[in-house]
Symmetry: C2
Amino acid sequence: MCELNAIVINGDERELVMESVTKMVVDGDSIELTGIFGEKAIIFGTIKEVDFSKGETIIIGN
Amino acid sequence: MCELNAIVINGDERELVMESVTKMVVDGDSIELTGIFGEKAIIFGTIKEVDFSKGETIIIGN
């Protein structure tokens, strides 16, 4: 199965918030991330980019 | 490399708009999809879900 690393960008800061993300569900201004072991995290922001060749998704933080 | 099928939902309609998507870039209310052979498509809508286990990304059309 595919997985990506989720990176949140706030201004100049770039933070890896979850590795091996297997699912992202957007709900208004928040995104629920689910990891390969079923762990979940809620991130406030918007998806900017999903790039499988880089193996990352970029989220712009609120 | 990972790829997903991009599905656009408009009301009750569910349309497969691109197979083997390798990159998605959000720009305001549009999303640029790039396929595994470099083909590109611009979709007007918002990303609702990215699910690697199902191999699909769900976009809610404008």
